[in-house]
Subunit: 334 residues, 4 copies
């Protein structure tokens, strides 16, 4: 059994790692850390796990963690991961970081997050459908939730070099805001409501641009996120503008080929109903008649394919398991 | 008192007219028709109106209606209005039609709705912020829900002649689908779900193109609608691409001037929380730095400003009332 | 015009008073106070009211308030009202208090709220259907949200002296918890969730017992509240146990007679869909065949009939207006 | 591998069996039937299962099913099961029936469901916490959703013989109404709404009475169900009236002993947040001070412990597996 440590186990992302790993036949969680809840049972914070887990929160001590774990997931805030990851790597652990700290080149990170990087270091961008080199990684920067869905939607067509401009308009459930209650996560405000935020300035735009411009250097990337009254799920509507006309059949062929051996990407109508709680990314597209626009829409569960599930998929690849191991489950519907 | 008839009073739009008109001090509903519910009390279909209304559904008989009414709202399906409106006009009534039948030039209508028009006739497009001629209209084609929010969002900047392309990405509550239950309005499917539909082919695109191209002939218009898990509300995110750079302050000045004497348009962060149940259209915008994109977002209640409230606003203007009469109420929040 | 002051205008209850009073033809809000937001525009806290109100928050100064107001609503926390109300009364204002401070006899208040009362004083319990003496009141203790629906459900049958035991099982929307975000108002927790709280110890039980035992001294009263994933609305299911068999027709006759001239009580299937945003209380009942149980269910909007609407209904009665004035509107549906 | 047939695989219950069985390491679905969808891929009806299942719907042919299956789940409507089950049993299959057809003694069934029983036959009531004889059953009548939560809540105290009356007030998600869209499952009606139905006449009352009166013959049982705006989940609030005073500590001891070796029953605050998508039943209780009432509340997922999960738990016991097999997962939260 692969022994797994979860560094920062009280938040939504940590809780989701625990939920998913209870179903994993080859991995076992042996350490869960929390500075604030040290000594308390893990199920006191995650009552849904009662009877399923029998651990208490520990302090973050890399040497102790290394005795009990082979791999660590760091599920701590941006800026905190960079202070913890070096110690874990030094102790010989492989690390999958779910924060933003290792997703961007250092200069870009410092520009976007307006913070000096404490641990400039190479990492693999953990979007396995686009980065097969994940399997050899020691340190993985697990992608942001918006970039996961947006990049999977755009990549096949952009990789053809025929797209000049991308407008990604995303609709996210509120769980992306985390578990701390605020005025904008208050039920009476969120329910029955839709609203945009950071209309032209969201930090995830840089991860989308990085990946798409890697595939096609000159492509212009625009991104606008919204919050919708759902807990989970991100629907990303990518409006792609192509240099010359393309037919629906041609688009279909491009996407089928690109994702032919990617089990978690399915070409079917995106709807949170089909992906809730699962690691799938469902994608559909429509070439607008008489126009230069192709609309590509993807749906993911931001907590799973957009965070903890993708982290486990990366773990599977890093340790030579089938990438589906422990993740091969249906969405929860109804 | 202005005497009002509601032709087709069993659906959501008819019910909303009744709800709003109970608050109108200058108008009184004297006739409500329904072929299917003829003879039944109106509050048997709309139990929220119990004690507030004491009418029974009548059959549609233009001569009888004309005896009791000065103005009629036709809240019947597309294609049905064109068979009823001529009779009402002939009897001397002024008519505000909430279907699609009188919104587009006949040739465009027949192309988009794939149906021969039974009553080709001039009508005023009832978006009063852009069509002051509503006040003299005998027949008003009340706009579609998506076009109302989208057109108000785009008009000020497009009217400047500097926009080359518009991508409208809209998020609508499910009440737009009406009151007949279907697989796609079933609670377990809609809740916690977001999904696109008619990604490049929605019929309302033609109303947006018509209005924007009237303001700036060459502008390209793209439209993609989505359903979100809300009952009411449409948030339209318009991504506008401008020919030359424009600053946030310039955009601000353009919108303030354009809407300076339009009481129902407010320049503030769009959120269904602020407009639910009211006739307001809230608009905000952001000029993307270092880019040719301006994002303009509007929020309306699709049942009010997107349908029945706007119809009453048109009625107010047609009869010389202050346009706010009976509509000057706050959104329902929380 | 009656001049109205709202003491404590930043919360949900104060906001709802403002929303409802914009529709009142005989009353005008002239003062809105807030210690924390003093000097700021009222619509900065309540953006739904933008364009509808042009006041700024003032400090609480009874002498100043008395110059501008005839009547004051105190919408401040329990315990705070008792420090403000005496000053307002002394200045000659009539006061409708929406806190719990004047609902119970002083000894009962101190036992239930575990707090010494700073202003022991007579007040009228402002449930106008049961307390017609409201019309002469100088100080009204506006009822709690749960007691309003529960007492209206039980009163007719209990007043007959044939009920020995009442079990009230209530289901409330989350707006009753107010506008401060907490772990139990966080959208991801509230949505798709139902949970009980204070299963046998909720403080509102004392208001239900007080009213029912006034009607029938020996009746036993039990109360258990729950939170459901709705913003507004309280459905109270009262299981009444009667001393001898009673038929459905007899129950029907009792309720019809009891509420025959009470415009806000309607005998029809309770459902939040019919009362959302309105001052109605809808009631239905079923006498269980072959049993001593009668189930009576009521639905109210906790923000309207359960708080601010009822307060305005009380104001109407105190000033000789028809009690429906400004409140005679339908629920918001869909 | 145990070979499993699902008879009636297009509805919510059949879909949930498929979802759960994809996670079962000892069982494999080999047949899924549907008369209406015969020949179509299973994932065309359940798109969430795309890539996870590669079966097509078959017709119901017991002899064919018996060739491919060891056990069958019948997930067909009430009244239909009794026409299919005899054939399956005759072919030597063991059967777990999820309809109401085999839950009650024949005379009771015919009285409650107002229908002649076509296949009077012994079956085991499949609530394994109360019926350990499930392990030897050939035919299991899987309990109704409401009775599962209600019976688990009441059993420990009722089994002590000290309860004279039970009032069960239940709050159910709408998925219990199935997947056919109707006016009462329409999103605009269900959202933000709570309503009672069949206030004194719900058919599940008989299953609650049967089980509780088996434990304590004279106990009176009352039941009232409600629909709440959630998809999944049933919260049952049982108000138990005891013959003599009992303390909180005594109740605690009774429940701990009763459920000490029942892994799916957890004694903690009920909340759908902790059980959504899982087979757990969470229970809490409070003995009212100075009263003869004990409030016991249980929460289950009506699709899992209330239907398909419990059916699999029964299957596990029938085939000698640990009852947790394939079901030992956490609820989906957030």
């Amino acid at each position: 059994m692969l022994r797994v440590g979860i560094i920062g186990g009280t938040g939504y992302t940590g809780g989701e790692l625990l939920r998913l790993l209870t179903m994993h036949p080859m991995a076992e969680v042996t350490v869960v850390t929390s500075r604030g809840q040290k000594g308390k049972p893990v199920d006191s914070v995650h009552p849904g796990l009662k009877n399923l887990i029998d651990l208490t929160f520990e302090d973050v001590d890399p040497a102790e963690i290394a005795k009990k774990c082979d791999v660590a997931f760091t599920a701590v805030p941006h800026g905190a991961a960079m202070t913890i990851v070096p110690g874990l790597l030094k102790e010989g652990l492989r690390v999958i970081d779910l924060s933003a700290d290792y997703r961007l080149p250092v200069a870009k990170f410092e520009e976007v997050y307006k913070k000096k990087h404490a641990d400039p270091r190479e990492a693999v961008y953990g979007l396995p459908e686009l980065h097969p080199e994940v399997k050899d990684a020691t340190l993985v920067g697990n992608p942001g939730c918006y970039p996961t869905g947006a990049n999977l939607a755009c990549a096949p067509l952009v990789a053809k070099g025929i797209v000049s401009r991308i407008v990604v308009d995303s609709k996210s459930g509120i769980s992306g805001a985390g578990q701390d209650p605020t005025a904008t996560t208050h039920f009476p405000f969120v329910t029955q409501n839709v609203r945009p935020y950071n209309m032209t300035t969201h930090r995830h735009a840089s991860e989308i641009a990085q990946e798409q411009q890697r595939l096609s250097p000159g492509v212009k990337v625009h991104f606008t996120p919204h919050v919708v009254p759902s807990t989970r799920g991100i629907l990303s509507t990518a409006h792609l503008f192509v240099d010359e006309p393309i037919t629906q059949a041609e688009v279909q062929a491009i996407y089928e080929e690109f994702y032919q051996d990617k089990p978690f990407v399915r070409l079917q109508t995106p709807s949170f109903a089909n992906i809730r709680g699962s690691n799938f990314c469902d994608i559909a597209f429509e070439a607008e008649q008489g126009s230069d626009r192709v609309v590509v829409v993807s749906a993911i569960d931001n907590m799973v394919k957009g965070a903890s599930g993708q982290a486990i998929q990366n773990m599977n690849l890093m340790y030579g398991f089938d990438e589906r191991t422990g993740l091969w489950t249906s969405g929860l519907f109804p």
